[in-house]
């Protein structure tokens, strides 16, 4: 049992940090601009593809910095020439716009890079065993993901809380007229926040594409779960996104790692494995793991709509 818990925490933290990289950008955009960005995971995908393509020419380390910047630039263009025009018509057109954008990006990626996964691999300098824990090896790349996530969290937190730019951003989001009256260019701040959020997702993609698979389906795979993180953590709360990512990562991994069903623990009690109750009684935790995040989403919205760390309701 101790082993199971240790593995779950370690694997869960690794998975959770990847979730955090994707969702921190979304929580900024979603919470601060009120834009429900369905295309957020598409920027995550762009990050992976840009890094793969750049990496062929420049190597991984340069791509690690360049790819998120490119994704951020793409995000800035989308905000400036797309979202800003749609914004005046309200939230529903915005939502539809990002919804369509997600499909456009997926199709474009399939056109340029093909539908087959690209061989995007960890650089040789990170492709070795970092440490072993009770018989299982962990590669240096996983440790690297962890480091990137920590740097990202600390950097974000410092930026928002300790710098003048962070103050202006926070001000522009709650009192845009006031910040505008003080001489700041509020639309510019919005563009910046959106671009920055996209760049964070892009950075998530640079490492996530290696850890998982880089194919045009990767955005739709990750899209829904990122929203769960944002709602569970609370809109606009970066620490909330971190905690929610870790909770989801660890819970899901734990459910996958243990072999448990009510029937196995208590005994089948003569209950057949059929019918609603019977299926539930014999259901193994591994099969519940996939729905777990969405169950959390529903429960959060019912019992604590503002999420764990949020200040206002979803």
């Amino acid at each position: 049992m101790f082993e199971t818990i240790a593995y779950s925490i370690l694997n869960g933290v690794l998975y959770g940090t990847l979730l955090f990289m994707m969702s921190s950008g979304l929580t900024l955009i979603f919470g601060m601009m009120g834009v429900l960005n369905f295309a957020h995971a598409s920027f995550y995908m762009l990050g992976a593809y840009f890094a793969y393509t750049l990496g062929l020419a420049t190597g991984f380390w340069v791509a690690l910095f360049l790819a998120p910047i490119l994704v951020g630039a793409a995000g800035a263009l989308v905000e400036r020439y797309g979202l800003r025009r749609v914004h005046q018509y309200g939230h529903v057109p915005e939502l539809l716009f990002t919804f369509g954008l997600a499909y456009v990006i997926e199709e474009l990626v399939a056109l340029f890079w093909g539908t087959v996964p690209v061989p995007y691999k960890a650089p040789a300098s990170l492709d070795f065993t970092a440490f072993s824990l009770m018989g299982l090896d962990y590669s240096m790349f996983k440790v690297f993901i962890l480091l990137v996530a920590i740097v990202m969290f600390v950097g974000l937190w410092l930026l928002l809380k300790k710098t003048r730019a962070g103050l202006v951003i926070q001000g522009a989001l709650s009192r845009p007229d006031m910040v505008g009256a003080l001489g700041h260019n509020v639309p510019m701040v919005f563009t910046f926040v959106f671009a920055f959020g996209c760049a964070l997702a892009g950075l998530g993609g640079v490492v996530g594409g290696i850890q998982f698979v880089t194919d045009p389906g990767m955005a739709f795979m990750m899209g829904p779960i990122v929203f769960v993180v944002v709602v569970l953590g609370g809109l606009g709360s970066v620490p909330g996104a971190l905690v929610a990512s870790l909770i989801i990562g660890i819970l899901q991994t734990f459910f996958l790692s243990i072999n448990f069903s009510l029937a196995g623990a208590i005994g089948s009690l003569g209950i057949e494995d059929s019918g609603f109750f019977g299926v539930l009684w014999h259901m193994e935790t591994t099969r519940i793991a996939a729905v777990l995040p969405y169950l959390l989403l529903v429960l959060t919205l019912i019992f604590r709509p503002r999420g764990l760390f949020g200040k206002r309701e979803a």
Binding site: Y7, L136, D215
Partner: protein, 417 residues
């Protein structure tokens, strides 16, 4: 006026003549089309893409030798996004386009839907369609759900498991604890159930773990790998395919787990590249052929075929020997009937047909339309002549299963037209 009338008559005759001529040439030269219904986008796109290249290549080889009845064979690619319902509408589209043959293999759930769609169409419609299954291995398709219009060119799962477990008895001393991990649909569920029965029956070993995971949704297999580690298993058996297999073996490999892995599909489509030479002597597959069979058995013609495919598509290898069998047997059946549109007669010609495949005689069993063919169990070997998918590692045969042993019993009670 008189002149005009003559001119009109002349033009009309010419139009009629040219139409007649074009109809004749159309009937002679218009290609025999086969719908290829597979995932060409999404998580399994690489598998669908590789299969398409196989079919296109085999069709071209046939066409170079004169095609079928002098007509070219054309593969019509259709993307089913790995969805059963999408596949059903693609079967319908094939019928609407006058295509008489559909082929599919990835996913027994998809195959089941296609069998039903084909049966329903053929009951109601005069434009009949034949389903050539080159890879869906759920035994139900040739047992309780068998159909006259379905032909399977791969060994079904029961045959493969029988062969694998027989081979495992020869290595009983190193197999004590077996872990089963499979995709959560009919294919994986069958392996999980049947393998447990076979272990009880034949092996001096126990099943220490049995996991079903959602198909095409797991991106990180490390939680599963940690379960394998904790169970103390020395052997893993999996029927996974596509990314579900390559990610699994990659996770096992990167965690440094010391287990032998027995697979159905470890020989190609991304898996050799995922582990590379580290899979040597620990990754097994059961298959109807692998590249070094050509070398072992001196199959020079077929080796040329293999090399030519590699030159055309350097990033993958000729992997589906069954596509070779399928295309040739279809050709033989159509030429025996002499009419590519008489689907019922073609199906009857294919029933019980024997074909001299490079690996030996293969037979399409008439009772359930399951092919019977010699099988091979092989293990990864860096010294193999041909490596798979440029991974630096190929396969070495460790057991030959003659065709008499690579068989099963069937409960099929087929309704014939």
């Amino acid at each position: 006026m008189q002149l005009n009338k003559k001119a009109g008559l002349f033009t009309g005759t010419m139009i009629g003549l040219s139409m007649a001529v074009s109809t004749v040439t159309w009937a002679d030269n218009h290609p025999i089309r086969i719908s290829y219904i597979e995932p060409l986008s999404g998580p399994f796109a690489n598998v669908g893409d590789a299969g398409l290249k196989h079919f296109r290549f085999a069709a071209e080889k046939l066409n170079n030798e004169g095609g079928i009845l002098g007509r070219d064979v054309e593969i019509v690619a259709m993307d089913n996004k790995q969805s059963p319902s999408e596949s059903v509408s693609l079967v319908q589209r094939s019928v609407d386009n006058g295509i008489n043959f559909v082929t599919q293999g990835n996913g027994s759930n998809v195959a089941g839907a296609i069998v039903e769609a084909v049966d329903r169409n053929n009951r109601r419609n005069d434009d009949k369609v034949l389903y050539l299954n080159y890879a869906a291995v759920d035994p139900a398709l040739t047992n309780e759900r068998c159909s006259f219009y379905h032909f399977r060119f791969d060994a079904n799962s029961a045959i493969k498991l029988e062969a694998l477990s027989n081979f495992m008895t020869t290595r009983d001393d190193e197999i004590d604890k077996i872990f089963l991990i499979n995709q959560d649909y009919s294919h994986g569920q069958f392996i999980s159930k049947r393998m447990k029965a076979l272990v009880d029956e034949k092996l001096d070993a126990e099943v220490v773990g049995d996991v079903l995971h959602p198909i095409a949704q797991v991106r990180d297999f490390s939680p599963y790998v940690s379960r394998i580690e904790q169970s103390g298993a020395d052997t893993v058996v999996t029927g996974n395919w596509g990314n579900d297999l390559s990610l699994l073996v990659r996770a096992i490999d990167s965690a440094g787990l010391d287990v032998n892995t027995y697979t159905y599909y470890g020989g190609g489509l991304g898996t050799p590249a995922a582990v590379g030479p580290r899979g040597e002597d620990i990754l097994f597959q059961v298959s109807e052929w692998h590249a070094d069979v050509n070398v072992d058995e001196g199959l020079e013609e077929y080796e040329k075929w293999f090399v030519e495919f590699k030159e055309r598509y350097p990033e993958i290898d000729w992997y589906y020997h069954r596509i070779y069998n399928q295309m040739h047997m279809l050709k033989n059946a159509i030429e025996e009937v002499g009419d590519a549109d008489d689907v019922v007669a073609i199906a009857k010609a294919m029933e019980g047909m024997e074909f001299q495949s490079p690996t030996g005689t293969v037979t399409m069993r008439a009772k359930d339309h399951q092919i019977l063919q010699p099988m091979y169990i092989s293990v990864m070997d860096a010294d193999a002549k041909y490596d798979a998918d440029n991974s630096g590692v190929g396969f070495r045969t460790v057991a030959n299963i003659p065709v008499e042993e690579a068989t099963d019993t069937t409960s099929c009670d087929m309704r014939r037209p």
